[in-house]
């Protein structure tokens, strides 16, 4: 949204950098690039840095450490690309970083100075500005979430962009408990794609806040054909929420759940069990890590 708005103002002097962390969902790198480039006509540099991220995550199981490493690597990749652009085509003329800060973020920061009881510090720039002295453009900083959606409509953004579910920055790494490796990622990616597909088919995608799969490295016994199997567990998580501050699990019809479960066990190798997460936030969180 912010990018589209800024692009409208300054055309191709705005460059988007899209990093494939290797932790994106099925076909997400390609389809996002296509959306940005071909449909929204934005100028985008796509960087496939999957290997770098995977190397960073090797052997790491602690969720906080995962997040830290991904964040650090992300900033490194982004900064490299920005510097390359600055030294090349932009001829040293990059002066701004576009950021999609929204009104509630601004208010939270403002409240710190006042005696408000909702005191919170806010930091969303992840250490970048100290290294790179860009001024910020925050075109949405005066808007609320649903106002952003309204503006998006007026800007002519495709519906699929406007209703897309939120996805955490560290991506699938925090939906895959334990070590992140290519095999586990492939398993989760397949299971996740089935969840989203079935939810769409049942007409729930636009009604829910998020729908996704989580992969647990917990093995349990199964039986397929005449063989005993011993495979992992996939958690299906579907929640409704207005603002992610509170959320409740969605009471999906049994047949939708059954469809998801059957497909995952049959189509994703290494998975013998599917469970549905029936916890609300609070006390749980939407994501598992």
């Amino acid at each position: 949204m912010a990018a589209v708005l800024v692009h409208r103002a300054m055309g191709n002097r705005l460059t988007n950098i899209f990093v494939n962390t290797g932790l994106l969902r099925k076909h997400e790198f390609e389809s996002t690039l296509e959306m940005l480039r071909d449909r929204l006509k934005l100028r985008v540099i796509g960087v496939d840095a999957s290997d770098r991220f995977l190397a960073q995550l090797k052997g790491i199981t602690d969720p906080e450490e995962k997040r830290r490493r991904i964040g650090r690597e992300f900033i490194a990749v982004f900064a490299e690309q920005a510097q390359k652009l600055q030294a090349g085509e932009a001829h040293g003329e990059i002066g701004y970083l576009v950021q999609g800060t929204l009104y509630p973020d601004v208010i939270e920061s403002v409240s710190v100075k006042g005696p408000s009881s909702t005191i919170k510090t806010h930091h969303n720039v992840g250490g970048l500005p100290e290294k790179m002295p860009f001024a910020l453009i925050e075109p949405l900083r005066d808007l609320f979430k649903d106002e952003v959606r309204q503006i998006g409509k007026e800007l002519g953004l495709p519906a699929e962009v406007l209703v897309k579910h939120p996805f955490p920055g560290p991506g699938l790494a925090v939906r895959l408990l334990g070590e992140v490796n290519p095999t586990q990622l492939a398993t989760l990616r397949e299971a996740d794609a089935i969840v989203v597909e079935e939810i769409r088919k049942a007409g729930f995608y636009e009604k829910v806040w998020q729908a996704f799969a989580v992969l647990l490295p917990i093995r349990s016994v199964g039986v397929m054909g005449d063989f005993r199997t011993y495979g992992q567990t996939v958690v299906v998580r579907v929640v409704e929420s207005d603002d992610a501050m509170t959320a409740d699990w969605v009471k999906l019809p049994g047949e939708v759940l059954a469809g998801i479960s059957t497909r995952i066990v049959n189509e994703v190798s290494g998975v013998t069990r599917v469970v549905y997460d029936v916890s609300s936030k609070p006390p749980s969180t939407i994501e598992w890590e």
Partner: protein, 268 residues
């Protein structure tokens, strides 16, 4: 244009730029935040009427408020009692700018306390549903705030303190069973309500806010998506000149934090 007029125009332009505000945002409403849980909702409801609303902390200097050239000021609710040692306060000058003011809940108590009325801990605290009797001489129509609404309304309350004596110049325009629920000073254009017109559970709450915006403040409904896009792109164009900009598109997957914000790695 005479020299002084040109100078004034330049100064005005400078002031606007300094505040970083666009035309559609001027002449809106400033909501001063006393830390209330509904402060953002107040701003929302006002914007739904196509009037821009900006939330500033209650300690904002009067000059900062004036930069927005507001048509009205709303004082939010808040968790404190005016007698608390660290009770939040506005600059009392806010009430003397000649700009219409609407105090809500704590906002009402602070106005009463500041202008010489009396606020006390209520014998019966009111939380949740209450019945409001619009009670000014001449019926609802004689108060701009209640214009066009029935004489009895279901309202939503959340207060432990209440107004016992009105400041000079004020009159009561609404009562609930236990408390003074709405007051006005038409001369100074100061209005205050104990209940929360911004929550959906208050019957006709939006109409009360509309009455304040359009009958009292005479605000213009000019805040729209199209105006926002037009003015924002123009402002960016002017700001960046020939420079380039970059944006992290990683967050395309995260619709409401489309850019660099994704690096927050927050637990959703």
């Amino acid at each position: 244009m005479t020299e002084s007029a040109a100078k004034l125009a330049a100064e005005l332009a400078g002031a606007q730029e300094q505040a970083g505000r666009m035309k559609a945002e001027l002449g809106g409403v400033v909501v001063l935040d006393f830390g209330g849980q509904y402060t953002q909702l107040i701003a929302r409801r006002i914007r739904e009427q196509q009037v821009f609303a900006a939330i500033l902390r209650c300690t904002a200097p009067v000059e900062e408020i004036q930069k927005l050239a507001p048509a009205g000021i709303v004082l939010s609710g808040g968790p404190s009692s005016v007698y608390d040692a660290d009770a939040p306060k506005c600059d009392p000058k806010v009430l003397a700018l000649g700009i219409p003011v609407l105090g809500i809940c704590y906002g009402m108590q602070w106005i009463t306390h500041t202008l010489g009325g009396k606020v006390e801990k209520a014998a019966r605290r009111e939380y949740g549903r209450a019945q409001l009797k619009v009670g000014c001489e001449g019926g609802p129509e004689s108060s701009a705030l209640f214009s066009g609404v029935p004489a009895a309304l279901r309202v939503w309350n959340s207060h432990g303190d209440q107004v016992l004596a009105l400041p000079p110049g004020f009159r009561t325009i609404g009562m609930t069973e236990n408390a003074v629920a709405a007051v006005e000073d038409v001369q100074r254009k100061i209005y205050a309500v104990e209940f929360h017109p911004e929550v959906k559970h208050t019957e006709r709450g939006t109409e009360l806010l509309r009455n304040f915006l359009f009958r009292v403040c005479k605000a213009e409904p000019k805040w729209s998506g199209a105006a926002f896009i037009e003015e924002t792109t123009a402002a960016i164009r002017e700001k960046v000149g020939n420079k380039w900009a970059i944006c992290s598109a990683a967050a395309w997957t995260r619709p409401w934090r489309p850019c660099w914000c994704t690096v927050r790695w927050e637990i959703a």
